[in-house]
């Protein structure tokens, strides 16, 4: 059935795209375009429920609702992936900040300054 191939390709492409484009302006722009596209599709699906059924049958899925479910799963997984990657980026930023603070404070400690001077002699 076509849908299986479509889904696998979709997931693969999303994965590659997400890994490459996070943070870049191009990625952000495409993300916004995708979001608007999805919202538009959602509105259309609500207003014209038969469209989902037609689309579903075209790709080999029984019901429009099932097609929506498959689509939702893919988008959901991508969201989780993206979210975790953003969290990791934030953690790295925080680490850099905390490190800078730690070293500045350490350089100001009299205990360390004394030792530092002593070691140089």
């Amino acid at each position: 059935m076509i849908i299986r191939g479509v889904l696998v390709v979709c997931i693969g492409l999303l994965l590659v795209w997400v890994l490459r484009q996070r943070g870049s302006l191009v990625g952000q722009a495409w993300g916004k375009i995708l979001a608007i596209g999805l919202l538009t599709a959602a509105v259309i699906a609500v207003l014209f429920p038969d469209i989902t059924n037609m689309l579903a049958n075209a790709v080999g899925v029984g019901r429009g609702a099932d097609l929506l479910l498959y689509g939702l799963t893919v988008v959901f997984l991508a969201s989780i992936l993206l979210y975790n990657m953003r969290r990791r980026d934030d953690q790295q930023k925080m680490t850099k900040l905390a490190r800078r603070l730690a070293i500045i404070e350490a350089n100001q400690q009299p205990h360390n300054q004394r030792l530092s001077r002593a070691k140089k002699t």
Binding site: Q92, A98, A102, A106, N107, Q109, H111, S116, K119, K120
Partner: protein, 226 residues
Amino acid sequence: MNRTVCVIIPVWNEGKVIQKTIRDVLKVYPFVVCVNDGSRDNTAAEIKKTQAILIEHPINMGQGAALQTGIEYGLQHPEVEYFVTFDADGQHNIKGVQKMHKVLVNKEQDIALGSRFMGSTVNMSSFKKAAFRFAILFTNIFSGIRLTDTHNGLRMFNREFAKNLNITMPGMAHASEIIDKIGSGNWRYKEVPVTIRYTNYSKSKGQSTLNSVNVLFELLFSRVGR
């Protein structure tokens, strides 16, 4: 000559043993930098009683981050030529560092890596041995270099390597990050046999059987998105 060596000891809640560990190192190497990674016990107070430099992380960030902080602090001092990563819990022996120092001083190597499987293991459980075997095999496959011990915290490297090393992986994944760094450049490395002592204290504090699951998972998934 020993003043050109900066020994970095990342510490997290080792108030009971950190003084002894530091004093043992100071007997040979005067430049010791302890990075307190957000300990909740009396670790900081204990370190202040010694002649070691104390850097305090405002939040807990993991052993890798603590090492990186120590390295960046040491790089501020132009007289430092070598860096050592040394565990706080007493598992490591300063004699191993002296062996590595001899190796690096010839300038034929950039990095010396301690290996417990070339030397002797005192009291290691067979489960741990098996877990290590898997971790070592996995790391060797993915990094492109072959080591007998990929997760040994005792290492020594020169300033050039220190400047290039940029540990960013959270938790314990820094071990494989360092190895990947070695494999990706033209770095010359050599393994040196060292003794790791598993005392009752270090065994009680060390990775529990269940935590090995966490470590192995991190090992596997830390390579995603690098």
